[in-house]
């Protein structure tokens, strides 16, 4: 299941992180790695905010297109 398809407050674990190098590095540094729980807390059309490791990080939807989560 894709990260971008998650509904509000639906917590899932990240399965795999496919993205361009630049974005991938930044996302990983901020906590998006395999096995980490992530939960969308604000959903807008082009950008979302996720609760990850007890912090809230906003990322653009276009940058998280290829991130998959465990169903």
């Amino acid at each position: 299941m894709k990260l971008n398809d998650l509904k509000l407050n639906d917590e899932k674990t990240i399965k795999c992180l496919k993205a361009s190098d630049d974005i991938k590095r930044r996302l990983m540094d901020i906590g998006f790695t395999k096995g980490v729980k992530v939960k969308p807390v604000i959903i807008k059309k082009n950008i979302r905010a996720y609760m990850i490791k007890n912090t809230v990080i906003s990322v653009r939807c276009v940058d998280t297109l290829d991130i998959e989560v465990e169903v």
Binding site: I30, V36, V56, S58
Partner: protein
Amino acid sequence: MRIGLVGNPNVGKSTIFNSLTGSHVHTGNWPGKTVEKCVGYKIYNGVRYEIEDLPGTYSLSSHSKEEEVTRDYVYFEDYDALIIVCDACALERNLNLVLSILEITSKAIICVNLVDEAKRKKIKIDFNKLEDILKVPVIPTTARSKKGICDIFKRLNEVIYSKNRPFKIDYDFLEEYLNKLNIYIPNTNIDKDIISLHLLLKDCMFLNSFDYKYSSNISRNLYLKEKVDNVLGEIKSKGVDDLEVLVKEIVSNQCMKIALETVKYENKNCDYRDRKIDRFLTGRVTGSIIMLLLLIIVLWITIVGANYPSDFLYSLFFKFEKVLYNFLTFVHVPSIVVDALVNGVYRVLSWVVAVMLPPMAIFFPLFTILEDLGYLPRIAFNLDGIYEKCGSCGKQALTMVEGFGCNAVGVTGARIIDSPRERLISILTNVFIPCNGRFPLLISLITMFLIESTLFGTVILTLFILFGIFITFIISKLLSTTILKGVPSSFTLELPPFRRPQVGKVIVRSIFDRTLFVLKRAVLVSMPAGLIIWVFANIKVGDVTLLKMFSNYLNPFANLIGLDGVILMAFILGFPANEIVIPIMIMGYMSLGKITDLNSIVELKKLFVESGWTISTAICTMIFSIMHFPCMTTLLTIKKETGSKMWTFLSFLIPTLTGIIICFILNILLKSIGI
């Protein structure tokens, strides 16, 4: 003793820095990079500790100039110890940086800050266990109330003289491959495993810096390169697609394990309040309304609050002017020099200070309070959608908010934008945000020609500003499709938890900083400007002053764009500081030899109307005020930030052209509907 202060952004590092160093701080630049360097010192038990505040970073793999500074410092500088500041409410994420640093040096103290907030959210941390695992001192602190700060100093000696081996991250099956490369690596202070890892990750920047510092040759050694590629091949054959991802996963898993053992969340819903607030602040309708209201309120407080102090300062300077005049005449300074010094230099200087200082002393504390509160990233979050469409990112919104106070500050603030292309867009368009210096002109004109009440005048001002912001979007879009073409960069922004701002400290520090800045600028810029303006207004060519000559010369062109020669002349001579535009206009219309203020807005309106002003003139003047070249300080700041004459020139040209074109069109439109 050199101590480096590192940590994630938003952990209260600055508060720790201030608590550690008291008021003994000075700012400068890191050599080779335009990043602010903050160094402070403190004497504890007879030892002088020099504490260097490094830019906040999420990890040691750097993405921006600022993070590179931190990374290079941690790896290569000769410090005596590091203090790693963490947020108690986000320990797991912070551990990422902690472990990466502990791999390299055991001379570190972990400072877990914001424990009062963690307590409130019922987050329990076992500090002793953490210390056992990490093998370095772990000190809980609440920097706001200075709790725990002494403990940091007490235990610093432990680490400075420690001979402990650094914490080891267990790289699992990668260890055997790292060992294969370790034999080629010279002995240095840094663990060979880490160097081998960087070799495998092909981190050229790190390897070059390493070679530079240790005079080795591992970055260009072809034999070594071959070995590295061999090992990489072996690793890939084990099914590892992306080594970098794997390494980060390994570190992340270790952080998770440590966090599981040391942190307990007793309240699963501890951030409930923040999420509710966010629903209002980021909602499509509510978010925009709140942003607009805040803009109006901040503008209104700044304008109204600055009135009395400005008047007071002005009358103070005026009184001193007489003293100065009498003194200079008394010591027999030639009268023309006295005139130039008092009516030229001194007048402009005192005008700039009187008009500039009070609004800044109000606006910036307000801004800092919003920043401490945690609200500003929400603005960036809300507006990111629009900025993305214009080829930029939401962080530009933050530089624009700073631009309200002073465009030069907004330009410097563009450093938070990682992508150089987007940083340039932000720098070039910052001038469309009217700064504090332009408020008096805008508000006066609105009050004189449009609406009398200050409150509604502020609303009208907001409308003009929204127009300026709209133009910012258009120009940003234009730039990113023409001379600043490129792909929008990735954008991650942390939305920090809402924290109570320390109002007292904020106000004091803000006022102090801003006062110094204005005074410095006033001296550097206004004094020579005052002299030049005096020359223009007093040197006659034939029968007519230079001022009159030039304003007559500019008149035809100015009329095309809805202004007149005097107004245009005032903008040009107001290049050093926007605050003096109205006084120069008065000087021009009344053919005076010195800039003057008129005591009431009624008198001013009379003067303007008698000189041919209509509502259309007022509107075009206001638009031109929002859209013309940046002031001298801003231009110099742009030169410093971009390091390029070309971009500085463009930052002068683009807004001016925009202003001319828009005023031209506006003039035609307004005249055609009979205003």
